[in-house]
C-alpha cells in the first residue's frame, strides 16, 4: 500500500507539472525546454521557507509566486525572440538555474537542501493533497480552454501577427501563460520538496525539462486529457522498467522526437483519428455508400 501511495503522489506532482507546461506550450504555443527550473525554484523556495519556520501552506504558495515571477521575467524575454530561438533561450534558463543553485552555499550547493520539515500530513493525506491539486489544475485547464482566454491563446499559438491585427495583445497573453504555467510548476516543486524532504540540484536538470515536454507532446499538445494520460503512462514507465531510469533522457527525448515526427497530434490526435476512421467505416458498412466527405472536426 505504501508503494502505491508513493506512486500516486509522484503521479499527482507530475500531473501538475505537465499540465502547467501545457498551459504555456499547448495552449499559448510557446515552447519551453527549461520548465524544470521553475519546478526547482518552487521546490527550493518552499523548502527554505519551511526550514526557516514558516508553515507548509504559505511556503508552498510562496514557491508558486516566486516561480511565477521568474516565469514572468523569462516570458518578457520570449517577447523578443522568434519561436525557434525560444527553445534555446528557455534551455539556457534551465542551465542558468542549475549553475546558480550549485554555487550557492545558502542553498546547500551541490548537496542541496536536506532536513526539510514534514508537511504535517500522513502519507495518505499528502497523496490526497497532491492528487487534489492536480485535479484542480486539470479542471482549471479545461476551463481556460473554453474561456475567451483560451480562444485568444489559440490565435496567438496559430499566427501572432494576425492575432495582433484583430486587436489581441499578444504580449499580454504570452506573459499571462508564462506566469500562470510557471507558478503552477512552482507549486508542484514545493509539493515535491516536502514529499522527498531532501532536494539536490541535479533533480531539476535538462532531463526533467525534456521529460515534462515529452509528457505534453506525447499526450497531444493542448489536449488536457491527452496530457493526463501521457503523464500517467510516462510516470509509470520508470517504475515498471527499472532500466528506464538510466536512459531517461534518451528514452523521453526519443519519444518526444518520434511523436513530433510521426504523430504531431500525440495520443489525443491519434485517438481522434482512429475514432473518425472507425465511424467512417461503420457508416460505410451500414449504408454501403462511400462517404468521401467525412470531415475531421
Amino acid at each position: 500500500m505504501a508503494y502505491e501511495i508513493t506512486l500516486l503522489t509522484i503521479i499527482g506532482i507530475n500531473l501538475i507539472l505537465a499540465l502547467s507546461l501545457n498551459l504555456i506550450t499547448g495552449f499559448c504555443g510557446q515552447i519551453s525546454l527549461g520548465h524544470a527550473a521553475f519546478y526547482g525554484t518552487g521546490a527550493y523556495c518552499a523548502a527554505i521557507l519551511t526550514k526557516a519556520g514558516l508553515p507548509f501552506p504559505p511556503a508552498l504558495l510562496a514557491g508558486g509566486v516566486v516561480a511565477g515571477l521568474l516565469g514572468l521575467i523569462v516570458g518578457l524575454t520570449s517577447l523578443r525572440v522568434r519561436e525557434d530561438f525560444l527553445a534555446i533561450t528557455t534551455m539556457g534558463v534551465g542551465f542558468l538555474f542549475l549553475g546558480f543553485v550549485r554555487k550557492q552555499s545558502w542553498l546547500g550547493g551541490e548537496l542541496g537542501v536536506s532536513g526539510i520539515p514534514a508537511p504535517g500530513l500522513s502519507d495518505l493525506g499528502y497523496m490526497v493533497l497532491a492528487i487534489g491539486i492536480a485535479a484542480a489544475v486539470a479542471l482549471f485547464s479545461l476551463y481556460v480552454r473554453r474561456s475567451w482566454m483560451g480562444f485568444a491563446f489559440d490565435a496567438v499559438a496559430d499566427d501572432e501577427d494576425t492575432a495582433r491585427v484583430i486587436g489581441i495583445g499578444v504580449a499580454g497573453y504570452k506573459l499571462t501563460a508564462f506566469a500562470l504555467g510557471t507558478a503552477l510548476a512552482g507549486i508542484a516543486g514545493g509539493l515535491y520538496a516536502h514529499y522527498a524532504r531532501i532536494i539536490v540540484p541535479d533533480t531539476f536538470g535538462f532531463t526533467l525539462s525534456v521529460t515534462i515536454l515529452a509528457m505534453v507532446v506525447v499526450g497531444g499538445i493542448g489536449s488536457t486529457w491527452g496530457v493526463i494520460v501521457a503523464t500517467v503512462l510516462l510516470s509509470l514507465m520508470p517504475e515498471l522498467f527499472r532500466f528506464v531510469n538510466d536512459y531517461k533522457l534518451l528514452l523521453f527525448g526519443g519519444l518526444l522526437l518520434l511523436t513530433m515526427r510521426f504523430s504531431p497530434g500525440g495520443l489525443a490526435g491519434l485517438t481522434r483519428e482512429t475514432w473518425h476512421r472507425l465511424r467512417r467505416n461503420q457508416g460505410r458498412n451500414r449504408e454501403q455508400v462511400d462517404d468521401g466527405t467525412a470531415a475531421r472536426s
Binding site: 475567451w148 496559430d158 499571462t176
Partner: protein, 254 residues
C-alpha cells in the same frame, strides 16, 4: 477644422536594397471610399501593412484623427478602429471559419488577458459572425475548417473578420481576387454598402472595372510613391498613369 481620419506623411520603407515605399504621402477624409491601384510591386500591400503596423516605417509619420500612431502597437491600432484583410490570406487554421470571425467580434472580451478568463459564452459573437459571413456570401462555410476552403472563400473570410472589428477605417487588399465575375460584382456592392453605413474604406484592387464602378476617388502608386490621385476617370486619363501601366496590361479591365 477637424483632422482627416488618416494622414500618411512621407513614408519610406526599404527591404534590403528595395525601396518598397519611397516617400508616400496620402490623406483619407472621414467617410470616403478610395481605390488604391498600381502595377505589381508598386508598394500597395506594403503601404497597407505600414498603416496597420505590421511593417515599421524607416521614415515618415502616420496620423489617425491627428494623433501620431507611427509607433503604436498593431493591436492598439486595431482597437482604435483600423482593420485590414490580407492579400495573402491568413486564417487561423486551428479555428473554424465561424470562430475566426467570432474571435474578432469579441475584441472587447479579449482586450485584457486576465479579464478574458472570466468569460466563456461565445453565442453573441458567433451570432454576429454568422451575420457577417452571410453578408460576404460564405455563410454556407461557417463550420468548415479554413484549410479545406478555396481562395475565393478565404478572401471573403478575411473581409468578414476585418468587419467584425467594426472598424472606422477598413483596409482591403485585393478582396475580389479568386472570385468569378458575378461574385466579384456582388462583393464590390457589399463593400460599397459598408461604406454607405459610414465606414471609411481604402481598397487595393487589380480588378479595375469594379474599382472604377464603386470608388469615388482613386490613388495610383508606382515605385513606392503616389503618382496621381483624384476623380477616377480623370486619374485614368492621366498620361503618367498610363505610362506606369505600360507594358503591363491591367488585370481584368473589362
Amino acid at each position: 477644422m477637424t483632422a482627416p481620419l488618416l494622414a500618411l506623411e512621407d513614408l519610406r520603407v526599404r527591404f534590403g536594397g528595395v525601396a518598397a515605399v519611397d516617400g508616400a504621402s496620402l490623406t483619407l477624409e472621414h467617410g470616403t471610399f478610395t481605390g488604391l491601384i498600381g502595377p505589381n510591386g508598386a508598394g500597395k500591400t506594403t503601404l497597407l501593412r505600414l498603416i496597420i503596423g505590421i511593417v515599421r516605417a524607416d521614415n515618415g509619420r502616420i496620423r489617425l484623427d491627428g494623433r501620431d500612431i507611427t509607433k503604436l502597437a498593431v493591436s492598439r491600432r486595431a482597437r482604435l478602429g483600423l482593420a485590414m484583410s490580407h492579400q495573402i490570406v491568413r486564417p487561423f487554421r486551428s479555428l473554424s471559419v465561424l470562430d475566426n470571425v467570432a474571435l474578432a467580434a469579441g475584441r472587447r472580451r479579449t482586450r485584457d488577458p486576465l479579464l478574458s478568463l472570466l468569460h466563456v459564452k461565445r453565442s453573441t459573437e458567433r451570432a454576429r459572425a454568422r451575420e457577417l459571413l452571410d453578408l460576404v456570401g460564405i455563410g454556407d462555410a461557417a463550420d468548415a475548417e479554413p484549410a479545406k476552403l478555396p481562395l475565393g472563400y478565404l478572401k471573403r473570410l478575411e473581409m468578414a473578420r476585418a468587419l467584425a472589428l467594426e472598424p472606422r477605417l477598413l483596409l482591403l487588399d485585393e478582396p475580389l481576387a479568386g472570385l468569378n465575375h458575378s461574385e466579384a460584382h456582388r462583393l464590390a456592392d457589399t463593400i460599397a454598402g459598408i461604406h454607405q453605413t459610414g465606414t471609411t474604406v481604402l481598397l487595393i484592387e487589380h480588378n479595375l472595372a469594379e474599382v472604377m464602378r464603386v470608388c469615388r476617388r482613386l490613388v495610383v502608386l508606382d515605385q513606392g510613391r503616389v503618382i496621381a490621385e483624384g476623380e477616377p476617370r480623370a486619374v485614368m486619363a492621366d498620361p503618367k498613369v498610363r505610362a506606369a501601366y505600360l507594358g503591363e496590361a491591367p488585370h481584368a479591365a473589362a
